[in-house]
């Protein structure tokens, strides 16, 4: 495999290129989720009767998942700290903990969705539930993708390589967390 | 071609007037820009031994040639904005008192026009339903209720200069006042499937007497 181009090692702005890339990626993601949630809010405002449907979401599961994601963001920060001081193996351990949080989140969500579907609330039940599953589902896809990429970065970090990427996946992870912080009240709590 | 398309409604002249205003103002700038453009190409074509000028863009006597037109363009825009707001308000934001009413329903792929019968009211027993034929009276103000049964359609009467999209699940109100007697096209102005191109309807604008005759002929028997 050929080495990195000279271009990748330059930094005319002083900001590391990887960090720039992640911020631009997040900018595009913000608009995607913003568009989806904006559409949801516009609908919700025009349909007060959706509050009745929203009352059937599993608020405790959602709250527990919020806690899980917040904790996983914390372990991501710890991973970054370890990477900053060159401790690759320690960073990898914290990344694996973060991935564990992701797995827990997904597991809880699976149980939660199973309960809701068995009660008859599917994606086609009404437009509230369509938004619910679409928004949470899109978020879940981002959790899965993030966890997978995190795995690759953890393997590299364990070997002491590409430690600067620990920070980058951490930034992405905080974003995924942030989206959930918006989703939770909008989908679960709002009356 | 616009002169061959007659003005058939009370606001057609307003809309045409706005179009002409835009044509005059934008046309002026268009010809100035193209004129300057082609003149510069000719004037500064490469000549042997003649070097190009070094212009930094900070020369005030030159940038004036840009900032002055820039300001004038803005002024022209203001004229167009004011004129357009007036026309738009008249056609789309106000609803003058109606002499008559009609309900228009678009569906894949035909227009249904619900005319009130001699009682002048919609949704009564003497209503006249016609497919692809809209019958209206000249010099009477109409309110229309526009609906769509399946997908988006759009009610367009070029001779009126009128157009309004029809949205399923909604009834949209608008108005027109025919000013010309005759028979003209009604088109669907929103692609609605395979039959979009055959959703041709006709509008028949008649005088009071012809209208009365049509109503009598077409009122459903009980």
């Amino acid at each position: 495999m050929s080495a990195k181009p000279i271009a990748t090692t330059r930094s005319a702005t002083g900001i590391p290129t990887g960090r720039l890339a992640v911020w631009w990626l997040l900018a595009s993601e913000v608009v995607i989720f913003g568009g989806l949630l904006g559409s949801y809010i516009m609908h919700r405002v025009g349909h007060p009767e959706w509050a009745e449907a929203a009352a059937h979401t599993q608020v405790w599961f959602g709250a527990f998942n919020t806690l899980v994601l917040l904790t996983s963001s914390f372990t991501a920060v710890l991973a970054h700290q370890a990477a900053e001081s060159g401790q690759g193996k320690k960073a990898a351990k914290f990344l694996v903990m973060t991935m564990g949080g992701a797995l827990t989140f997904l597991l809880v969500k699976s149980i939660e969705w199973t309960i809701e579907i068995s009660h008859g609330y599917t994606i086609t039940t009404n437009t509230f539930w369509s938004f619910y599953y679409t928004a949470a589902g899109l978020h879940g896809l981002h959790v899965i993708a993030g966890a997978i990429i995190m795995g690759f970065i953890a393997v590299d970090a364990w070997r002491g390589r590409e430690l600067q990427r620990v920070e980058l996946i951490g930034i992405y992870w905080h974003f995924v967390d942030l989206v959930w912080i918006f989703l939770f009240p909008l989908l679960y709590i709002a009356k | 071609m616009i002169e061959t398309l007659q003005q058939g409604s009370s606001y057609a002249a307003d809309i045409d007037g706005l179009i002409i205003l835009v044509a005059v103002l934008s046309g002026f700038w268009f010809f100035v820009a193209q004129g300057v453009f082609f003149w510069l190409i000719f004037r500064y074509r490469a000549k042997p031994g003649k070097k190009s000028k070094y212009v930094t863009g900070r020369e005030k006597h030159l940038t004036r040639w840009i900032s002055f037109p820039h300001g004038l363009v803005l002024v022209c825009d203001v004229f167009i904005i004011v004129a357009s707001v007036n026309v738009w308000y008249n056609v789309k934001q106000r609803l003058p008192e109606a002499d008559r009413v009609v309900r228009i329903t678009g569906q894949q792929w035909a227009w249904t026009f619900q005319h009130p019968g001699s009682d002048g009211e919609l949704d009564t027993e003497d209503d006249i339903y016609a497919v692809n034929e809209l019958h209206v009276e000249v010099d009477k103000t109409y309110h229309f209720h526009l609906e769509a049964r399946d997908v988006m359609h759009s009610f367009s009467v070029p001779v009126f200069r009128l157009k309004q999209d029809a949205i399923p699940g909604r009834s949209i109100m608008g108005w027109f006042r025919p000013t010309l007697i005759g028979e003209f096209d009604v088109q669907c102005a929103e692609i609605c499937g395979i039959g979009h191109g055959v959703m041709a309807a006709r509008i028949f604008i008649t005088d009071e007497a012809q209208r009365a005759a049509w109503v009598t002929q077409n009122t459903p028997n009980r």
């Binding site: 080495a3 181009p5 000279i6 271009a7 005319a12 290129t17 720039l20 631009w24 900018a27 595009s28 608009v31 995607i32 568009g35 989806l36 994606i123 009404n126 369509s130 938004f131 899109l138 | 061959t4 398309l5 809309i15 179009i19 046309g27 700038w29 453009f37 190409i41 500064y44 074509r45 000549k47 070097k51 190009s52 000028k53 070094y54 212009v55 840009i66 825009d77 357009s84 707001v85 026309v87 738009w88 056609v91 789309k92 997908v151 157009k163 999209d165 399923p168 096209d185 088109q187 669907c188 102005a189 692609i191 499937g193 395979i194 039959g195 979009h196 191109g197 055959v198 041709a200 006709r202």
Partner: protein
Amino acid sequence: MVEATVEVRHAQHEVHEHHGPQGVLKYLWSTDHKVISMQYLFTGMFMAVVGGFMAYVFRMQLAFPGSSVPGFGIVSPGEYNSLVTNHGSIMIFWVAMPVLIAAFGNFLIPLMIGADDMVFPRINRLSFQVFFISALVILGSLFVEGGGFGGAWTAYPPLSAKGVYNQTPLGATLWLIGVTLEFVAFLLGGINFITTLMNARAPGMKAYDIPMVCWMIVIASILFMLSVGPLIAGAVMLLFDQTLGTGFYDPATGGDPVLWQHLFWFFGHPEVYVVMLPAIGITIDIVATFARKKLFGYKLMLYTTVATGVLSFFVWAHHQFISGIDPRMANVFMVTTLLISVPIAELMFVIIATLYGGSIRLATPMLWALAFIAEFLIGGVTGIFLGASGADIYFHDTYFVLAHFHYTFFPIAIIGTFAGLTYWFPKMFGKMMSDKLGKIHFWGTIIPFNFIFIPLFVLGMGGQHRRIYNFQHFPDLAGADFQRLRIIATVALLVMLAFQLVFFYNFIRSLLRGEKAPKNPWNANTLEWTTESPPPHGNWPPDQMPKVYRGPYEYGRPDRESDFWPQDEPA
């Protein structure tokens, strides 16, 4: 001393190896920005032939309704709708964007900023692979049961959401997936372009030393990234409506068809600037080179472009004036729409002003660049008729709109492309194109182009609506004088298509037997002209990467004998 130097050279060589994969695999797996740019270019050119063929078929149907079209057969109403839908979609998403942004961006940005590649070469390769799959999906959608999607490139629901309405359900879903994949490809590509321009510049290249075409492509990428998000969300919702039976856009279940329109046009309007900016950037760089002039106002051009980009987020509902939005909102969008014409007009004035005092050589690239300006002016000015909401009541959905956007899109996608190709062909392929054949192709394209679309303006003013396969059904439009205009437009299209053969002949002949191109055939200042034609892998030897000492447009300096001053020449 000598051994030490040799050792240093070896060390550098090991660290910055410039070896790509060899052989056929080179083209499949290469991460070299120049190879990837060619992949985008040739895919885009192929799709242009497909899109052009579709235009040929439906224009033949319009000129000779009901007749069998040679090479296609009789055009049914459903097929007509599929043809116009896919013509539009293909030309915007699979021709204009890959050629103007991805091909030119990939080729030019690293070269023009003095870098050896993009900062993320493997993501670059991934973006092409995703794009290529999207092209296969859209092409595949044309051959499935029911045929290609026929709901227009705007895909308004409920028509696009339910197969029972559009009768092309499989085509509709594949169309949607193809478009969404294309979006993902360009999001990936955009991140590369933006970060590369920001960070990988040669030492000494400050922000205002960057060639305008690079700025334009990157600003376009930013506009794209910030505007496409809501439509991706909307596309997911439409996909679910199509395949899962949700009702996001179905009024019967509490959905709203107009929501799609907002999501679509919130992206759709910035999108036209996404494709416009690279074409204008190409035009600007060519004008500077062939007029031998510094840009009349580099910073002014940059600021008006950014202003246009920002404003472009606030005009979208001018596509929806009569669609059932609150009529009061229409006034707001009318004002923003007319205002956006101001920075664009200013940009055009500044480009024209650059010609003042020049020494203008009318080589083929310059002809294309000048034609862009002349033709785009028509497109821009006719947009004002549509931005004035009162006039739009009449013009919406007529051929006036169609002619307006072809007078903008054609200069952007076709004239801009030919300008860029004829200008950078020597650098890309190491050979010179025939200028004589180039001029024949130029005139054979530009003159017929106007004869296609001026009749369409006239037809639109006469009330002719879009997406209708046979105007004989409308008594007011079926007259002989209307039909004559349709035939003129179609014949002009046939002539224009025929002249494209001249281009293909010139392209291939020049590739195979053209005169070898020097490093800098046009005596231009920018960095791409300081390396070999074509550039080797890595663009420059690793120890000879360029340094920059001045801006890109130092032409015609009175204190120098030569009328140009390359950016990398020390003071």
